[in-house]
C-alpha cells in the first residue's frame, strides 16, 4: 500500500495540486512552480513560529477552537477542519469524526509515519492556523503567487489564482510545526486506501 502513496513533499504537493478544480488548465511547466513555491511559503511561515507549540500560537492570536462531534451521513467527503476569520474574532472548527478517521487510518503505519490522536488534532489546528495567518496578512498564498493562464477567448486571456497552492502551503506549515515526516495529505491518501481495502 505504501508503495502507491508518495512520501516526498513534492509528490504529495502534486497530489494536492491535482485536487484543484483548475488543475487541467494549469500550463504544464507552471505545475512544478506552484508546488515548489507553495511548499516554500509554508515552510517559511513555520520558521517564524519555531519553538512554539500550536496551542500557544492559537492562544497568542486569541483564536477560539471549536470541537464538533458531527457524524456526517455523507461518507464520501468529510471536512477535517474549518477556519472562520474576522477582524474581531476568529475560530477554528475541528471535526471529531475526522480526527477519529485519521487516527484509525494511521494505526497500522510504521513508526515515524503513525501519529497519535493528539498529534492529529495538532495537525488539524496547524493547518487551519496557517490559513488564519494568510487571512491576517490580507493575502493567501494562492493570491500571492502569479495567476495561471486558464484560457483564451478571442484574444482575451483568463487568469486565475490556483487555490490549492494555499492548501499545499498549509500542509507544509503543519508538517514543520508538528514535526511530521510527511505532508498531512499523506494521511488523507492512507485513509482513502483503507476505505478501498475495506470495500474489497
Amino acid at each position: 500500500m505504501r508503495d502507491s502513496i508518495p512520501i516526498t513533499d513534492e509528490e504529495l504537493g502534486f497530489r494536492e495540486l491535482e485536487q484543484d478544480s483548475l488543475y487541467r488548465k494549469i500550463p504544464e511547466p507552471m505545475k512544478e512552480f506552484y508546488v515548489k513555491e507553495s511548499l516554500q511559503k509554508g515552510r517559511e511561515a513555520a520558521g517564524q513560529w519555531r519553538g512554539k507549540r500550536i496551542q500557544e500560537a492559537l492562544e497568542e492570536k486569541g483564536i477560539e477552537v471549536v470541537m464538533k462531534a458531527h457524524q456526517s451521513m455523507a461518507k464520501m467527503v468529510r471536512l477535517r477542519g474549518e477556519i472562520c476569520f474576522t477582524k474581531e474574532k476568529s475560530s477554528i472548527t475541528v471535526y471529531e469524526d475526522s480526527l477519529q478517521s485519521m487516527a484509525e487510518a494511521c494505526m497500522a503505519l510504521p513508526k515515524g509515519f503513525s501519529i497519535s490522536r493528539e498529534k492529529c488534532l495538532e495537525v488539524h489546528l496547524a493547518h487551519e492556523f496557517f490559513h488564519y495567518l494568510e487571512f491576517e496578512e490580507g493575502k493567501t498564498v494562492a493570491e500571492k503567487l502569479p495567476k495561471a493562464q486558464i484560457g483564451k477567448f478571442f484574444g482575451w486571456t483568463r487568469m486565475a489564482s490556483i487555490q490549492q497552492s494555499s492548501e499545499i502551503a498549509a500542509h507544509a506549515f503543519a508538517k514543520e510545526m508538528c514535526g511530521l515526516k510527511v505532508l498531512p495529505n499523506y494521511y488523507d491518501m492512507v485513509y482513502i486506501e483503507r476505505q478501498r481495502e475495506k470495500k474489497n
Binding site: 485536487q19 478544480s21 483548475l22 487541467r24 488548465k25 464538533k68 458531527h70 456526517s72 451521513m73 455523507a74 464520501m76 467527503v77 468529510r78 471536512l79 477535517r80 477542519g81 474549518e82 477556519i83 472562520c84 476569520f85 474576522t86 477582524k87 471535526y95 475526522s98 488539524h124 493547518h127 487551519e128 490559513h131 494568510e134 487571512f135 493567501t140 494562492a142 495567476k147 486558464i150 484560457g151 483568463r158 486565475a160 489564482s161 490556483i162 487555490q163 494555499s166 492548501e167 498549509a170 495529505n185 488523507d188 485513509y191 482513502i192 476505505q195 478501498r196
Partner: protein
C-alpha cells in the same frame, strides 16, 4: 352534515399524522380515499357494474388513474440515470469549476447554473448527492461558507426542477390544464424564480464579505476519481427534452425517449444497450416512492370525484375558493406555511390531493396551476423534511432550520412576485 364533519376530521387527522411523521403520505392518501368514500356513503362493492364503488372505482380505477404521470416520472428518472451514467453530470460540474475560476461570486453563480442544468431531467436525492458531493466541497474550499454552499445547491434544485417536463402529465391529470397551456404560462413562475435565486446568491455571498473562510476537505474516492471524457456536444443532454417539448412540441414521453437516443449518439458510450437497460432499472428504483404516492393520489382523486363525496365536499370547498385576482394571490400566499413540514399544501404529499379537490370543486385550473407551481417552488426551497435538504444540511453540518430561515423570505418573494404578475394574465 355528519359526513362533512367526518371528512374534515379524517383530513385534519391525516395532516397532523403526516406532519408529525407518524404516517407517510404514501399510506395516508389511499386511507383518506377509502375513508372519504365510506363516510360519504359510497358502497364498498356492487354487482351492478354501473354503480360507483370503493373496490371497483376508488381502489381499482384509482390505482391506475395517474398512469400517465407515473410513466412521465419513470421516463424522467430513466433519462436522468443515462445522463449520470455517461458521466455528463460530472463533466458539467468540472467545466463549471473551470469556468468559475478563482472568483467566489462568479464560481457560486456558475455552480448554481451548472447544477440547475443537471437537475432539469431529475431532481432526486440521488442526483443531489451526486452533484452536491462534488460542488459543495469545492465551494467550501473556495471560502464560501458551508451554509451558503448548501443554499446554492438548494436553489439549483428548485431552478432545475422548475424546468422538469416529466412532471407535466401529473399537472395535466390533477389540474385539468393542457400541455399547451403549461408551455404558454410556464415562464410566469420561472422568471421571478431565477431572478430571485440569483439575487439571493449575490446577497449571501456579498454578506460574507469581511469574513474569510477556508476548509480542509478530505478528498474521497468519489472526488479523486477522474472525470470520464465526454464529447462537448453531450453537455447539452439535460436540456434536450426541453428543446423537444418546447421547440418541437413533442409529447413528454416520446420526447424523453428521443432525448435518450440523441444523448447516447452524442456521448458515444461503448455499451449503449447496457446503459439504457440498467438506467431504466435504477431510475425506477429511485422514483419508487413517488410512484407509490401517485397510486394513492389517484385513489384520492377518484374518491373525491365520486358523486357522493363530491356532493359533500363541493359546497365546503366552494366557500374557500377565491373568485378575484387579489383573492387568488392572497389565497396562495397565505398557503405558504401549509407547505412546510409536509403540511396540507405540500405538493409532494397531501397538497396534490388538495389541489385536485380545489379544481374539482370549481377553482380556475390555470389559477390553480400557477398556485401549484409557486407552492411547489416553496416546498423544494424551504421544506426541512425534503430528503435532499436533510442530506445537504447533514453534509454541510448545519441544521435544516437554518436553511428554512434563510431561504423562506426569498421563497415568499418568488410567490408574491409570480402571483402578482401571473394571476391577472391567467385568470
Amino acid at each position: 352534515m355528519l359526513s362533512v364533519i367526518g371528512i374534515i376530521v379524517v383530513f385534519l387527522v391525516s395532516v397532523v399524522l403526516m406532519m408529525r411523521k407518524k404516517m407517510p403520505a404514501i399510506i395516508a392518501m389511499p386511507l383518506m380515499a377509502i375513508l372519504f368514500a365510506l363516510i360519504a356513503g359510497v358502497p364498498v362493492m356492487s354487482s351492478d357494474p354501473e354503480t360507483v364503488t370503493i373496490f371497483g372505482n376508488v381502489l381499482k380505477g384509482g390505482s391506475t388513474k395517474m398512469a400517465e404521470a407515473m410513466a412521465g416520472v419513470m421516463f424522467g428518472a430513466w433519462f436522468s440515470k443515462i445522463v449520470t451514467r455517461l458521466g455528463i453530470s460530472k463533466a458539467i460540474v468540472q467545466k463549471a469549476a473551470e469556468l468559475g475560476g478563482d472568483n467566489t461570486l462568479v464560481s457560486a453563480i456558475v455552480f448554481y447554473i451548472a447544477a440547475s442544468i443537471i437537475f432539469i431531467p431529475n431532481m432526486s436525492l440521488g442526483s443531489v448527492m451526486l452533484v452536491g458531493n462534488i460542488i459543495i466541497p469545492i465551494m467550501i474550499t473556495m471560502g464560501i461558507s458551508t451554509v451558503n454552499a448548501g443554499i446554492i445547491t438548494i436553489l439549483a434544485c428548485v431552478s432545475g426542477a422548475s424546468l422538469n417536463v416529466s412532471g407535466w402529465p401529473q399537472i395535466v391529470q390533477t389540474l385539468g390544464v393542457t400541455e399547451a397551456q403549461i408551455r404558454e404560462y410556464l415562464w410566469i413562475g420561472i422568471v421571478p424564480l431565477y431572478i430571485v435565486c440569483l439575487a439571493a446568491i449575490v446577497f449571501f455571498i456579498k454578506r460574507d464579505n469581511g469574513k474569510r473562510r477556508a476548509a480542509w476537505a478530505m478528498p474521497s474516492e468519489e472526488t479523486s476519481s477522474r472525470t470520464q471524457k465526454v464529447p462537448a456536444l453531450a453537455y447539452l443532454a439535460p436540456v434536450i427534452p426541453l428543446i423537444m417539448v418546447f421547440a418541437l412540441k413533442i409529447d413528454i414521453i416520446p420526447a424523453i425517449m428521443i432525448s435518450a437516443v440523441i444523448t447516447l449518439l452524442l456521448a458515444r458510450p461503448k455499451n449503449p444497450i447496457h446503459i439504457l437497460s440498467s438506467a431504466m432499472v435504477e431510475g425506477i428504483q429511485e422514483v419508487a416512492g413517488a410512484l407509490g404516492l401517485f397510486i394513492g393520489i389517484g385513489m384520492l382523486l377518484v374518491a373525491v370525484q365520486t358523486p357522493q363525496v363530491s356532493s359533500v365536499l363541493t359546497p365546503l370547498i366552494e366557500a374557500i375558493i377565491p373568485s378575484t385576482v387579489v383573492g387568488y394571490i392572497l389565497f396562495f400566499t397565505i398557503s405558504v406555511p401549509f407547505v412546510l413540514y409536509r403540511g396540507p399544501m405540500n405538493i409532494a404529499g397531501l397538497g396534490l390531493g388538495v389541489f385536485a379537490l380545489l379544481v374539482a370543486s370549481g377553482m380556475n385550473p390555470l389559477g390553480a396551476f400557477l398556485g401549484y407551481r409557486v407552492l411547489n417552488f416553496v416546498q423544494i426551497m424551504c421544506d426541512p423534511t425534503n430528503s435532499f435538504t436533510v442530506w445537504i444540511a447533514d453534509f454541510t453540518k448545519n441544521d435544516t432550520i437554518v436553511y428554512l430561515k434563510k431561504i423562506l423570505p426569498w421563497a415568499i418573494a418568488v410567490v408574491v412576485i409570480s402571483l402578482t404578475i401571473g394571476m391577472p394574465i391567467v385568470l
